[in-house]
Subunit: 226 residues, 2 copies
DNA sequence: CTTGACACAGAACAGGCGTTCGAGTATTAT
DNA sequence: ATAATACTCGAACGCCTGTTCTGTGTCAAG
C-alpha cells in the first residue's frame, strides 16, 4: 500500500513553470495571460493540457479562476502583497550643504519620478501614514553612519529627537551635515556614529545644532562598482 | 472664433465613471474588465461607445490598451503604486556560520511571514524577475561592508562574480562569512570592503573561496537604539 | 438653414479564448 | 501481462470580445 512518488509530492516542474509565467506575465502586461499564451511559453502544445494543469493548481489553492471569461486566472499567493508607500525625493544630502526639508506644500504634489516607493511591511509601524521624505546621499561623508555614497535615506521631519534616534543634523558652527545617533547628556549632546568602532563627537549645548529629521530607513541599491 | 466649451476641458463625467469602474473592477477581480462589462456598469448600451471613450482616455494618457486582446485595458496614472517583489527570507547571515542559500524548491513555496517585499522601482533593472533571496544580518561582523546588525541584504544566488560585484563569500579556511566587493587579480582575489577607509583582504587563489551570492540591495530599518 | 463636430446606438464580422471530447502514450501497481 | 492512473495531443464547438461600419440626434458656428 505504499504511495506512488513519481513526482515530488508538491508541485511538479511544469506546475512551477506555469506559476512563474503567470506571475511574470502579470507583472509585465498588467493583466493575466490566456490559456494559449501559457501553453506557448511553457512548451505545451495543447490548450487542454494547460487547462489540465490549471485545474490542479486551482485545486491545490495556488491560483483562482474566473471560468468562462478571458484571462480569468490569478495567483492567490502573490495577492497578499501589502500596500506601498510613496515618499517624495527632496534632493541630496551631503556634508557641506544644508539638509533640504520639505514644506507642507511639497507633500501631496510630487511626481512619481521624484519619489521612492517603499513596502509598508518594511516600515516601522509607528511611521506609517506620516509625512516622510527621502534624500539621496552624495559623497562619502556619512560613512560613520554606515551610509555610503548613493544610498537613499528616508527621514521623518522633526525638530526634537529622543535619545537613541538616528537623526540628520546641520551643525552650522562646523558648516556640516551629518547622520548620527542622538543622545542628550548633562551639558552637551553626544552624536554617536552607527559604526561602533568609531568614536562619538560631542556638541556643547550652546553650539548650534539643528535637528532636521529622524532617519527611519536606509536603502542601498548595489549596482556595478564603477 | 472662441472654442466651444460644452464639456469641461478635461475629463467628462463619463470618462471619470469609466476610469473609476476600471479601477474598482481591477481591484475586485484582479484582471481588467471587458468592453462590454464597462458598458453595462456605466450605462452605455453600445460597445462602440465604450471604445469611443476608451480611445479618448488612451489619447489623454489615462489608460493603456493592448489592442486586439481580451481585457487589455489598464490604468496608467491611477496606479499610484508600482509592483512589488517578494523575496524569501532564508535566515540570518553571520560571521561564524555558512550562508544559507535557497534550493530551487525553496522558491515558489514560502510563506508571506518569511519574506520581504521590495518595490520594483527600487530594483536594479537587471535583477527583475530573477530568483532573489534575503538574509538578515546578525552581529557586527559586516561593518566593513557598510552593513550593520539587523540589516537586511538581498542577494542573487550565483557562484561566479564579475569584478566589482558585491558578493557574499564563505571562506572555509578562515571559517568566516563576509560581504565584500570582489576583484580577481593576477594570482589572488581581492576582497575590498565597501568602506573606503578600510583595507582590502587578499585571498590566494588556491585558498577556498565560495561565492554564495551577489548583493543587489541592502535595507536598514532604523528603530530605537536599545 | 446648412454644415460639421460630437455623442451615441445597433448590428455585424473576425478572431480570441475557454471548454470539451476522443484518442494515444507512458508509468506504476497488482 | 493487465489494469489503472497520469499525462499529452489535436480538433472542434461556441461563447466572448475588440473592431468597424452605418445611422441618428444634438448643438453651435457660419
Amino acid at each position: 500500500m505504499m504511495m506512488m512518488v513519481r513526482k515530488s509530492k508538491g508541485l511538479g516542474e511544469r506546475h512551477q513553470k506555469i506559476l512563474d509565467f503567470i506571475a511574470s506575465y502579470q507583472r509585465e502586461h498588467k493583466h493575466p495571460p490566456s490559456i494559449r499564451e501559457i501553453g506557448e511559453h511553457c512548451d505545451i502544445s495543447s490548450t487542454s493540457v494547460v487547462n489540465y494543469y490549471l485545474d490542479q493548481l486551482e485545486k491545490n489553492g495556488h491560483i483562482e479562476r474566473d471560468r468562462k471569461i478571458s484571462r480569468g486566472v490569478r495567483l492567490t499567493a502573490p495577492t497578499p502583497l501589502g500596500d506601498m508607500f510613496r515618499v517624495p525625493m527632496m534632493g541630496v544630502i551631503q556634508a557641506g550643504e544644508p539638509i533640504p526639508v520639505p514644506t507642507n506644500a511639497d507633500f501631496g504634489s510630487f511626481t512619481p519620478e521624484d519619489s521612492v516607493e517603499v513596502a509598508m511591511s518594511l516600515m516601522p509601524a509607528k511611521e506609517k501614514g506620516k509625512e516622510l521624505f527621502a534624500l539621496k546621499v552624495q559623497g562619502e561623508s556619512m560613512i560613520d553612519a554606515m551610509v555610503n555614497d548613493g544610498d537613499i535615506v528616508i527621514l521623518k521631519p522633526t525638530q526634537d529627537a529622543r535619545n537613541g534616534d538616528m537623526v540628520a543634523v546641520w551643525l552650522s558652527d562646523r558648516n556640516e551635515t551629518t547622520l548620527k545617533f542622538f543622545f542628550k547628556e548633562k551639558d552637551k549632546y553626544r552624536l554617536q556614529p552607527a559604526n561602533p568602532t568609531m568614536k562619538p563627537i560631542y556638541i556643547d549645548k550652546n553650539e548650534a545644532l539643528e535637528i532636521k529629521g529622524k532617519v527611519v530607513m536606509v536603502i542601498r541599491k548595489v549596482e556595478r562598482y564603477n
